[in-house]
């Protein structure tokens, strides 16, 4: 699909991935940031499955949930709890005929702007392949 610019909701944890996203900015990385809509939460474990469903319902083509690297969670294991919810969420998304690829969980360390830009780029490219989410369903 030519000219399709996906909208991606990016949940960023306050301690690592938010800093990682800021780091990408500080180093003026080249990546399709205009496709991203960042939203800060204290911990990736705060991301309620309902947030993800709501994001898809009201117009997101993709959702990224980015936490701290395993073992680095500011709250000990919030990122692990977030990760554990992903399979459940995937099953729910299937019910709504939303491809699992539209939601991704990953980790970005504070300062790792490089990785943040890479994850975002890959997500945008993949969503351009997939095309817009049919929000009618």
């Amino acid at each position: 699909m030519h000219g399709f610019e996906p909208k991606i909701i990016v949940f960023l944890c306050n301690w690592c991935s938010y800093e990682g996203a800021d780091a990408a900015g500080r180093s003026r990385k080249e990546f399709p940031s205009h496709n991203l809509r960042e939203i800060r939460v204290m911990c990736s474990g705060r991301v309620d499955p309902r947030f993800v469903l709501e994001a898809f319902r009201i117009g997101a083509d993709g959702v990224l949930i980015l936490g701290c690297a395993p073992g680095d969670c500011h709250y000990s294991r919030g990122n692990i709890e977030a990760l554990k919810r992903i399979p459940l969420l995937e099953r729910v998304l299937q019910q709504y005929v939303i491809e699992n690829e539209r939601m991704k969980f990953d980790s970005v360390s504070a300062g790792d702007g490089e990785k943040f830009a890479r994850i975002a780029t890959e997500m945008v490219e993949m969503l351009k392949e997939l095309g817009p989410l049919n929000h009618a369903c």
């Binding site: 909208k7 900015g25 500011h74």
Partner: protein, 651 residues
Amino acid sequence: MSERIGVYICECGPNIKDAVDIQALLKDARGHENVVLAGSFGFLCSPEGKRFLQEDIQAHKLSRVVIAGCSPKEHEQTFRAILKRAGLNPFLLQVANIREQCAWVVHEREAATQKAKALLRGAIKRVSRHEPIEMKTIECCADVLVVGSGVAGISAALAVARKDRKVYLIEKEPCIGGRVARYEDLYPDMVCASCLIESQLDAVLHHDHIEAMTLTELLEVKGYFGNFVASVRQKARYVDLEACIGCGACFEACPVSVPRPFMGGMAGRKAIHIPYPGALPNVALMDEETCLRFHGESCCACLESCPFGAIRYEEADEIRELKVGAVVVATGFVPFDPLKDDRYGYGKAENILTSLEFEQLVNSSGPTEGKILLASGRPPGHIAFVHCVGSRTEKFNEYCSGVCCLVTLKHAHQTRRQLPEARICQFHADLCLSGKDSQRFYRQVVEEDGIEFFRMLRPDSIEIRKGSGRIMVSHTDASGGRKQKEFDMVILATAMESGEKTDGMAEILDVKLGESGFLEEADSRLDPVSTVREGIFMAGCAQGPKDIPSSVAQGHAVAGRIMGKLQPGEPLALEPMVCEIDPEICSGCLLCKSLCAFKAIATEDGRGTVSINQAMCRGCGVCVAACPSGAINARHFSTRAIFSELRGLLG
């Protein structure tokens, strides 16, 4: 009354102004419900900017504020403080990050403006859902429990104790001072360790605000930062700490001799004894395992011989509960056990010692009064020091303990001072000589002491075994060749490990151990003396292998952390952005309780529902996302606020 939202766009000089169309952004903002004004300013973080913001908030009687500018990580706190000065609750602010996450990364102006609009819309929608949060405080106890009385523990205790802050210093052993108190010399200047530390130990024992408790173990810690209750067990010493002066009259009278399990039992002690000459407190203790009284006999030799009436046969273990605000774990290290690998030959032949055993041997109050002697009583002619025993090998510990190279150089230097004719060899793969004095010490040892160095291919390229009368040491050299030499004595520089004491502490205190087995830091770089549990700190080798100055520095660092957080007589400020539960909605499923990493969630007595301890909750919100009833609210990150932000971002 409807809300009055003010929207401020910080131009950040050219950073934002040149990247996005600010006028378009302002126009968009003005179209939102309850937005009563929208304006831009050059630098809102400048003194003029801050003054303008405060005056503008007051002049327009704003009830909520949105600032679009740099990352909230930069100036959210700055702007919250301005809201507060302007008479608004600081949490009625939302910052849209249109610099780091927009202006600096979206290089096309129209696209940047579109994204900035979305971010700003998200912030405007969100701020309407913000609720004022009152800063709460709780009463707390500023007293401190220090576990372990080595250099790290005593440094922390001495630094933190003061008129209105009591320190309980507990030590499992009968005397304080840890390992350093038993060293002879310290590198690089070979000062006498016990002379150096004795004044510190005296200061601890005579400090009005430190209660040092020997033979004492930590059993349990309940509560939370500022309000812990620690229960400790003090084992019976059977000797009155106040009455005994350590004269030793009872040692002479005691009929039970106990051989020391070191170097063929060259020195012994009695069932009633002082652990080593110079041990502090200088008070005898009775050894239950060997004393005849504990084996059904009615011996009273010590009681009869004591000129001070200090013997207390009736003494029993005592459990005490200590109310403290913070706990410091300074439980030190244990040496790697070379019995774990046959290649080190330990236990297979006489005269193979660990470096800590060598410390005892060269100690002037040790079994040979400091003379380096073989088990036979002769001085050794050929001595080998082997580096990296149990360290830098995947089989045991991958890490480098960082101090053993210097300790081993010191041992070689001590050996040379005693034995000018001996052949002294070191087997090493690399030498870790960091720090400002280490290379100088190394050069001195190499140049003046005539030590031979043999480089191994890998840290574990060594095999030590019993030869015919002497000890055979074979190693693979740096070029891969196998070499063999005979020695009279071999000293193994064993790795520093965390040991069972620290494992036990982690369990009792519910803190994590890192991959290397040491206590894990809240942040290994920025908060290296805090554990993941608030109020539980660590110092010294419990956190990782380190030398004496670093242990002392950590002890002081812990004191600083505690003094900065717990002021005697002052209540403790609580984290404002925590979670709260509505008992009317809670179904009592307890899912949240099992997820809370901070044990902040407890079952309400008799109600079946749970409550969240506001002092223990850290506000991560894991429980909020998991609650099937939607009974938990994360303050400032409420579900309503995030839903609203989502709608703004995608609207």
